[in-house]
């Protein structure tokens, strides 16, 4: 499971810019990426011309597919919504707004201690993305972070400010060291969040950069692949609320798994008999007869 993900590709007004970013990502070896839509104030901007823009994105993505070689056959694109939390009412709006729930991933960016606690404990989001380039006015504490980890919420570290300039590099490194010390390297994802395609780095480079933040080598790889997959699964589970059902075509079963198909056939027979009650008998009796 080494499909690398970048779950924070900032959305651009110009689809051409986004396209260059996405093609650079596939060239570097990423397979899943989420186009991020950041909103400062949910009520003002959440509705409106969003739908049409989403369509544009998907279109340019498909065009990109045709040009690319067989290397990026498995590329998947997701949509992500990030809300800046500076009002406790906004959390509720996040849950209630059906437009927001249409996005694949929902993230929040808390701006203070109380909003961070709120996001960890009460909101059902997938990602908590702090702005690590500024000095945070609170310390990370174990208790809310442990609650978040138990709920499957992941914390995001963006690496583009590390690349950009040395002033924000210091801040980001210090903040992410503090964060990782508290959550012990669990539930961290690393993503780009970059403005230009030149700021993107390959997955192995990013894993190497993440060594600076005190993670082990295994953890850095997990931050880019396994944890991101967990975020995607968490998002899918959040939407369906109760469980997951996946449907495969019959041909996709491996050789050792074909015994499962036998059951499928038996169930089908039962179902057919139940559907076509020819002689008015209840289906339970029929089963007994056959035995």
């Amino acid at each position: 499971m080494a499909a690398f993900c970048d779950l924070n590709v900032l959305r651009e007004e110009n689809p051409q810019h986004l396209k260059t970013k996405l093609s650079m990502l596939t060239k570097l070896g990423y397979e899943n990426f989420a186009v991020n839509y950041v909103v400062e104030d949910i009520q003002g901007k959440a509705k409106g011309s969003k739908k049409s823009k989403e369509k544009v994105l998907i279109k340019c993505h498909q065009n990109h597919f045709q040009q690319s070689s067989s290397k990026c056959q498995n590329v998947r694109q997701f949509s992500r919504f990030t809300a800046v939390l500076n009002d406790s009412l906004q959390g509720r709006r996040l849950h209630q707004d059906p437009e927001i729930q249409k996005y694949d991933l929902v993230a929040v960016q808390p701006t203070g201690k109380q909003f961070f606690d709120l996001a960890c404990k009460e909101l059902s989001v997938d990602i908590i993305s702090l702005d690590l380039t500024q000095s945070l006015d609170f310390h990370f504490t174990r208790q809310p972070i442990n609650v978040a980890i138990e709920k499957g919420i992941h914390f995001e570290i963006c690496y583009s400010p590390l690349v950009m300039d040395s002033a924000s590099r210091k801040k980001v490194l210090a903040n992410s060291l503090a964060l990782i010390r508290v959550c012990k390297g669990k539930n961290i994802i690393i993503s780009s969040g970059c403005q230009k395609a030149l700021e993107l780095r390959g997955p192995y480079d990013v894993a190497n950069i993440a060594l600076l933040t005190g993670l082990t080598e295994a953890q850095t790889k997990q931050c880019l692949s396994r944890n991101c997959h967990q975020v995607l699964m968490h998002a899918a589970a959040r939407k369906s609320e109760k469980g997951l059902l996946s449907v495969f075509p019959k041909e996709s079963f491996m050789k050792g798994q074909t015994w499962k198909l036998g059951y499928v056939r038996e169930i089908k027979k039962d179902v057919l008999e139940e559907i076509e009650p020819n002689d008015g008998e209840p289906p339970a009796k029929k089963k007994k007869k056959r035995k």
């Binding site: 070896g29 067989s70 590390l162 690349v163 950009m164 040395s166 590099r169 230009k196 030149l198 700021e199 780095r201 390959g202 192995y204 480079d205 990013v206 190497n208 950069i209 060594l211 600076l212």
Partner: protein, 126 residues
């Protein structure tokens, strides 16, 4: 370094690598000509900006350089390998020109750089 020829003809070295080799190319947003001495200076500058004087003391050498495409092979002592890698990947400009060092391959031996198993396309080769 202890090395031996095994019975099946494989040649193996049983030791941690002394040097690591790295295939790197420099991408800039406008065409530039950079001679090899300048390139070495830029690498040292990148090392210095992240790790200071200790970083600059790492003995990085360019063993092959293609000026037209800015591709090169670096030889780095194993002790400073991670530091050189992160310094190169965090470097984002040469003076005022935005640039990026793309690390294509990393190997414990020079022979390892001759082919790339990640890019290898079995359908094309057959």
């Amino acid at each position: 370094m202890k090395s031996e020829m095994e019975s099946n003809g494989n040649f193996c070295i049983r030791q941690t690598a002394e040097y690591f080799f790295m295939k790197v190319s420099l991408e800039t947003d406008r065409p530039m000509s950079i001679p090899i001495a300048m390139m070495k200076m830029h690498i040292l500058k990148a090392l210095g900006s992240l790790y200071g004087q200790v970083g600059q003391s790492i003995d990085v050498s360019i063993i092959k350089y293609e000026e037209a495409s800015h591709r090169m092979i670096l030889r780095i002592p194993a002790s400073g390998f991670n530091r050189v890698w992160s310094a190169l990947s965090l470097c984002s400009s040469l003076g005022t020109v935005p640039c990026v060092f793309r690390i294509h391959q990393v190997s414990g031996s020079l022979l390892g750089l001759s082919a790339n198993s990640r890019d290898y396309d079995f359908h094309e080769a057959s």
